[in-house]
C-alpha cells in the first residue's frame, strides 16, 4: 500500500501532464499559423525596415524555416525542435532564443520569488488573525483592505509607487540597474517597489484565502474537542485548525501562481524596467520578433504545468485522507 500507491499516482499524473504539454504546444502552433500574417511576414516587416529586398528574402526564409513544407511536417519539426531545446532565432537581438532566455530568466525568478514570499508570509499571518478575530473591527479593516488590494490594478499601483517614492520623494531610483549583483543590498533595494507592486495583489488574495480556509475549519467539531482536551487556544488554532486549513490553501496558492502571478510579473517588469522574461517578450513584440514572444508564452505555460503537477503531488502527499484510501 502506501508508497507504491503514491508512485503510481505520480506516474499517472506525469503522463497526464505530457498530454497537456502536447496540447499546449499544439494550440500555440495553431495560433501562430492561423494568424493573419505568417511568421515570414513578421520577419519581412523587420527586414523591410532595414531596407532589404522582400522577394529574395521571402524565398530564403521559407526555405530556412521550412515554411514551404506541408503543415504537418512543420508541426513535427516544431515539436522536435522544442525537445532539442531549439526555440528559434531572435531577429531583434541576433541570438538564439534559448540564449536570450538563459540570460534573463533569473530576473523574473528573483522578482516572483521575493514577491511570493512577501505575500505568502504576511498574507497567511493576517488571514489567520483575521479569521480568529472574525466580526471585530480589525477583521473588517483587514477584509476591506484585502478588497482594495485585489481591486487595485497592479500596473497602476506600480506607477503610483514610482510617482510617490521615486519622483516625489526620491527614495528609489526610477530605473533598474542591471550591473548590480543580484543579491547585493542595492539591488534588493531597487526591488522593493516592484515586489510591493507584484506582491500586493497576491497578498490580498492570500489574506482572503487563508481567512476563508480558517473560517471553514474554525466551527468544526474537532476544534471543540481540542479545546475540551484542555489545550491552550494558540495550540488549537495554530496546530489543529491551521493544519486543516493548510491543505486547500496550498492548492489555491499554487494554482493562483500560474494564472495571475505571471501576468502581473510581466507588467511589473515592464513598468520598472526589470530585464526579465516579460520584458524581453515585450521588446520582442515591438520588434516583431515572434519567436521570442512564442517562446516566453510556452515557457510560462510549461512552468504553470510544472507547478500544477508539483502541487497535485504535494497535496496528495499531505492529505492523509487521500493517501490512505
Amino acid at each position: 500500500m502506501g508508497k507504491s500507491w503514491l508512485r503510481d499516482y505520480i506516474i499517472k499524473r506525469l503522463i497526464y501532464s505530457v498530454i497537456i504539454a502536447w496540447g499546449i504546444l499544439t494550440i500555440t502552433f495553431v495560433l501562430v499559423r492561423v494568424g493573419p500574417s505568417s511568421p515570414a511576414d513578421k520577419y519581412l516587416a523587420n527586414l523591410a525596415a532595414r531596407g532589404q529586398d522582400p522577394a529574395q528574402v521571402t524565398a530564403a526564409i521559407e526555405a530556412r524555416y521550412g515554411l514551404d513544407k506541408p503543415i504537418l511536417v512543420q508541426y513535427a519539426d516544431y515539436v522536435a525542435n522544442l525537445f532539442r531545446g531549439n526555440l528559434g532565432w531572435s531577429f531583434s537581438t541576433s541570438m538564439p532564443v534559448i540564449e536570450l532566455i538563459k540570460t534573463h530568466w533569473i530576473y523574473s525568478f528573483q522578482l516572483i520569488l521575493l514577491s511570493s514570499l512577501f505575500a505568502a508570509f504576511l498574507g497567511i499571518l493576517i488571514g489567520i488573525y483575521s479569521a480568529v478575530k472574525q466580526y471585530t473591527k480589525v477583521d473588517y479593516a483587514f477584509t476591506f483592505f484585502s478588497f482594495i488590494g485585489i481591486s487595485i490594478p497592479n500596473f497602476w499601483l506600480g506607477i503610483m509607487l514610482i510617482l510617490i517614492f521615486s519622483v516625489r520623494l526620491g527614495l528609489f531610483k526610477t530605473y533598474y540597474d542591471t550591473t548590480l549583483p543580484l543579491f547585493s543590498l542595492d539591488n534588493l533595494k531597487a526591488l522593493v517597489l516592484p515586489v510591493i507592486t507584484l506582491g500586493t495583489g497576491m497578498l490580498a488574495g492570500y489574506v482572503r484565502y487563508t481567512r476563508s480556509a480558517m473560517l471553514d475549519n474554525l466551527r468544526k467539531a474537532f476544534v471543540t474537542t481540542a479545546r475540551a482536551k484542555g489545550l491552550p487556544e494558540r495550540t488549537v488554532i495554530g496546530k489543529h485548525v491551521f493544519r486543516n486549513a493548510l491543505l486547500p490553501l496550498v492548492t489555491i496558492i499554487m494554482f493562483d501562481l500560474g494564472s495571475i502571478v505571471f501576468g502581473g510579473a510581466y507588467l511589473t517588469e515592464i513598468i520598472f524596467g526589470i530585464p526579465g522574461l516579460g520584458q524581453i517578450s515585450f521588446n520582442a513584440i515591438f520588434a516583431n520578433d515572434y519567436p521570442v514572444v512564442v517562446a516566453v508564452t510556452i515557457i510560462g505555460t510549461f512552468l504553470v504545468l510544472l507547478i500544477n503537477l508539483m502541487t497535485d503531488i504535494t497535496y496528495t502527499y499531505l492529505d492523509p485522507r487521500i493517501r490512505y484510501d
Binding site: I19, I20, G23, I24, I27, T28, L31, V32, V34, G35, P36, S37, F147, I148, I150, S151, I152, P153, F155, W156, I159, M160, I162, L163, V167, G258, S259, I260, F262, G263, G264, Y266, L267, I270, I271, S281, F282, I285, F286, Y290, V293, V294, V296, T297, G300, T301, V304, L305, N308
Partner: protein, 320 residues
C-alpha cells in the same frame, strides 16, 4: 396548438411570479451589505456616464497644444515654457480651470472627456467579453456534464490545456498575432477567459443531478422538464450571475493592461491608453496617470463588492 401555447404562457407567468418573490428575497439580502450597494450604485453611475456623458463633455480627441498639461481644477502647476524668441525658459503658474475640470494631457486633450469615453470602452469590453466567456463556458460546462463519458473527458482535457496558459501571456500572444483592434481584443479575452466558468458550471451541473432535492423531486413524480426548469436552472443562474459579476473586473483590467503596454486599440481612448501616456509624463502631469487609474480601481472595486455581496446573499448558509 393554441392550447399548448396558452399552457406555456400560463406556466411561464406562474414561473416568473413565483420567481419574483425569489428575486425579491435575494435582493433584500444583498441590500443589507452596504458595500455591495455602493458597488451597484457606482456601476449604475458608470453606465449613465458612459451612455449620456459624451453628450456633455468636450470632444476627447480635440488636440490643442495651447492648453496642454493643464492640471485639474483646484491645482496649480509650474510649467517652464521655452520662448524661442528670447531663448530662455520662463516659469509660469498654470491653474486648473473649469473648462477642463480634470485637466488636460500632453496634447491638450480634455481629461474629463477622455475618461468618460474610456468608461464607455471599459464597460463595453467588460460586458461583451464576459458575455462571450460565459456563453462559451456555460455551453462547454453543460455539454460536458450532460454528455459525460468520452466527450466529457475530451472537453475537460481541452479546458485543462487552456487553463494552464497564464491568462495574460496567452492574451498578449493572441493580440500580437492577430493585431490590436478592439474587436480582436474583446474576442481574445472572451475566448481565453471561459475556462474557469466552464469548470464551475460543469461541477455544479454534475452535482445538481445527484443532489437530494432532485432525487426527492423525481420521487414525488416530477418530470425531467420540471426538474430542469424549476430546480436545476435557478441554481445555476445564480451561480452564473455571481461569476459574471466577478469576472467583469478581470476583463476590464485585462483590456486596460493590454492598452497600457501598447497592445490596445489606438483608435479608442480606453483608460489603459490614457494611463500609458501618463506614465511618461509623471513629472510634468501626474494627473494623467492618476485619474484613469482611480477610475479603473473604483470600477473593479465596485464589481468586487457587488459580486461578493451577491455571493453571500445567495449562499443559504450565510446568516445575513
Amino acid at each position: 396548438m393554441t392550447e399548448r401555447l396558452r399552457d406555456i404562457v400560463r406556466r411561464t407567468s406562474q414561473h416568473l411570479r413565483s420567481n419574483a418573490r425569489l428575486v425579491n428575497y435575494y435582493w433584500q439580502r444583498t441590500q443589507r451589505n452596504k458595500l455591495a450597494v455602493f458597488g451597484l450604485a457606482f456601476i449604475i453611475f458608470l453606465i449613465l456616464l458612459a451612455l449620456i456623458g459624451p453628450l456633455f463633455t468636450l470632444d476627447p480627441t480635440a488636440v490643442n497644444f495651447e492648453e496642454k498639461n493643464m492640471p485639474p481644477v483646484g491645482f496649480t502647476i509650474e510649467q517652464s515654457i521655452y520662448n524661442i524668441k528670447t531663448n530662455e525658459f520662463t516659469t509660469k503658474e498654470i491653474p486648473g480651470t473649469w473648462k477642463h475640470p480634470l485637466g488636460t494631457d500632453s496634447k491638450g486633450r480634455d481629461m474629463l472627456a477622455m475618461i468618460v469615453s474610456g468608461a464607455r470602452v471599459s464597460l463595453q469590453v467588460g460586458l461583451i467579453a464576459t458575455g462571450i466567456a460565459i456563453i462559451l463556458g456555460t455551453i462547454i460546462g453543460v455539454l460536458s456534464a450532460y454528455l459525460g463519458g468520452w466527450a466529457d473527458n475530451a472537453l475537460m482535457r481541452f479546458t485543462d490545456v487552456m487553463m494552464t496558459f497564464p491568462f495574460f501571456l496567452l492574451l498578449v500572444l493572441i493580440v500580437f498575432i492577430f493585431g490590436p483592434s478592439l474587436v480582436f481584443i474583446v474576442l481574445a479575452i472572451g475566448l481565453t477567459g471561459w475556462t474557469g466558468i466552464a469548470r464551475l458550471i460543469r461541477s455544479e451541473a454534475l452535482s445538481l443531478r445527484t443532489r437530494e432535492f432532485v432525487i426527492a423531486a423525481k420521487a414525488l413524480g416530477a418530470s425531467d422538464n420540471r426538474v430542469i426548469f424549476r430546480h436545476l436552472i435557478p441554481n445555476v443562474i445564480s451561480l452564473i450571475i455571481i461569476i459574471a459579476t466577478l469576472s467583469i473586473p478581470g476583463v476590464i483590467l485585462a483590456e486596460a493592461a493590454l492598452s497600457f503596454i501598447g497592445l490596445g486599440d489606438p483608435t479608442v481612448s480606453s483608460w489603459g491608453i490614457i494611463l500609458e501616456a501618463g506614465q511618461t509624463s509623471l513629472n510634468t502631469a501626474w494627473w494623467v496617470a492618476v485619474e484613469p487609474g482611480i477610475m479603473l480601481f473604483l470600477t473593479v472595486l465596485a464589481f468586487n463588492f457587488l459580486g461578493d455581496g451577491l455571493r453571500d446573499a445567495f449562499d443559504p448558509k450565510s446568516n445575513i
